[in-house]
Symmetry: C2
Subunit: 386 residues, 2 copies
């Protein structure tokens, strides 16, 4: 097990009716906040009114930034910073999914930064101070509610980068699984692919000594496999929504990665798909993951796939290589079973930009991954996924 | 899944050489601390010198309370409080195992309390404020390094109570697995029984919807089963010590219990053994656990034992009741295999005090457990364990 410094300070209010905690806890942080949200679904489902009622009854004043995009753009960040500065805002409250929370984080750090916030997106070391961030989660996927990361895009440059630091970890987040009842089957499936992909990125590493963390990863994967089909078919199944929501936080808050040298592989590749085609992140991950697995499976890595096959899919029979291949097949079948595409062609992506996308992904540290990958490797994986 | 408020603020510096973090992080909390430790083993193994060197180089002044007992006594707490008050101490630094850290926590809370600290031991609601607590861990067992709990004894009254609150959670803890190399085989085994018992207390509950948490529990149990025999045989195996140490923290910090209505059963019973006979806590737990399992196994509870048998012990064949019984047998055999006793007679405990011990244990809320237990039930379990 590698050395690590564990720091997960975010408080979580989890469960039905926990929105009641918002006002009383937020007013201790600031009485003047920026409320950030997305396309307005929170107005349709009544959450916006609940939030406003909490703010009003706690005597909190607020300004709003709405319309944050699914892959949040740097322009929205800049707009939020402007509002914060002009109004002496003391905290940023995100109500939405990972994109909204990500946007809120860089608004919070960018407000405390002299340069343009894109500088903080491409270099997380430039994030040293931030307004306190608070979130109310409406989508189980990115885990942004309990970590410091944010992914921001500049579509003019076709660039999408992950950034973040300890100071952008939310002070507290409210996780009421009922708020995800209205999430569509496709978004539920894509969110699950995101949770599973975070877990795979942590799980597939060469550190054999982080045994406990590997078992935790398997617990998250089994949870997704059990409950995603339930939530896709029965959107208001509380148990399924609750387990997926808690899995989303635990997959990426550090519990599964502390003690390992993890270097993500599929996320950087997918970020290029989203940056060039603005597709749903989880859809891209579901497509790429099985092909990445096939590509990196070899005699040296098979041990990890055997662990995965036995402990997650309960595949007990066969040679190591047979178990590994079956586990990859089961992964692909699972994503298809919850309605996700299996190839890039299905979402109208062709090989036009593969060269530049592969180069950009390779530049994101893929040589440090489970199996080091270069531009040619990435391009081959894209081609396998066509 | 039940509603929960997640709050695990303790930072962890985990791994080799992390003692280097002590001075620089502690001096930001206070420059005048009480150093609490036990019987002096830290002087033999050199840890005391390292701690002193850290304090000196950071310009931190300190007073000492040494000789804290394995089942820490209220008298030590009172002595520590006196030193804190007389010297204007600003933080309590525990260097040792769970007993030392537990003692430090109630010194920290008692210093901020007007009455006698025993009042805080019997009523955790009286703990509302505490000096900051910091720990350097030397034994993988109680998990006290990452939670708010403390168990304190008054041997004059034959009483041992658990208490604690959010304010007694350590601000940070240093976990260097190498400091546990000198822990004896018996203490290593007893510590593992403690970790496993915490996990069992969380795992065996009626909440079927906290699926993810149950899988995390299984991960901890598998970790203990894999690594305790290694650490017992090869005390300086880093991987084994590291996994046991991290398991000890994760077993009881809340990750395994949030979202469930857990009410502990075996711990309250064991506390009576320790209170009357001053035995090692983990030894008592190892003896009682399998008999408690046998006692509560029935047609209504068998589902949970089947989960346990299949997922932890990989017992796939047989009827549900057969799998359950096999799992209990495996548990008993495991504790014996790492050198722990299987009966109370082996540690010279007879039935003399069973009546009063059973009454006291039953008074600790055993009627809210996995299976509600009353005084007669507890007495029968003690008798089975004779």
């Amino acid at each position: 097990m590698q050395n690590f410094n564990y720091n997960i300070p975010t408080k979580i209010f989890f469960g039905k009716g926990q929105i009641e905690q918002l006002g009383s806890n937020l007013k201790d942080i600031s009485k003047n906040v920026l409320l950030v949200y997305g396309g307005g679904s929170i107005k349709k489902n009544g959450l916006y009114d609940k939030v406003v009622s909490q703010l009003e009854s706690a005597g909190i004043e607020w300004k709003e930034l709405s319309g944050v995009e699914p892959n949040p753009k740097i322009e929205s960040v800049r707009e939020g910073i402007k509002i914060c500065r002009e109004n002496g805002i003391g905290a940023v409250l995100a109500v939405g999914g990972g994109s909204t929370i990500d946007c809120a984080k860089i608004i919070a750090s960018g407000t405390c930064y002299d340069g343009d916030p894109w500088e903080q997106v491409v270099d997380s070391n430039k994030i040293t101070k931030a307004l306190p961030v608070v979130s109310v989660l409406t989508l189980s996927a990115t885990g942004s509610e309990m970590d410091g990361f944010a992914v921001i895009s500049d579509m003019e440059k076709n660039e999408k980068w992950g950034t973040g630091n300890d100071v952008t970890k939310p002070v507290f987040s409210i996780l009421d699984p009922e708020y995800t009842y209205t999430v569509s089957a496709r978004q539920t499936a894509a969110g699950t692919a995101d949770i599973m992909s975070h877990t795979f990125e942590n799980y597939f590493n060469q550190e054999k000594g982080a045994y406990l963390q590997a078992r935790f990863c398997e617990g998250i994967l089994k949870t997704c496999i059990k409950y995603a089909p339930v939530a896709v078919k029965t959107p208001d199944n509380y148990e399924a929504r609750a387990n997926l929501m808690w899995a989303s936080s635990m997959a990426i808050n550090g519990v599964c990665s502390y003690g390992e040298n993890t270097a993500w592989a599929v996320h950087p590749m997918e970020h290029e798909l989203s940056a060039f085609y603005d597709i749903t992140h989880g859809v891209g991950l579901a497509i790429l993951t099985p092909y990445w697995m096939e590509y990196v499976l070899n005699e040296d890595t098979v041990w990890k796939f055997v662990e995965y096959g036995k402990n997650v899919w309960n595949i007990q029979d066969g040679s190591d290589m047979e178990i590994a291949k079956k586990a990859i097949d089961r992964t692909k079948e699972f994503f298809a079973s919850i309605g996700l595409p299996s190839t890039l062609s299905e979402i109208n992506i062709n090989n036009e930009h593969f060269d530049i996308m592969a180069q950009k992904a390779a530049d994101c540290g893929l040589k440090f991954g489970f199996i080091p990958l270069d531009k040619n490797d990435v391009k081959k994986i894209f081609e396998m996924a066509l």
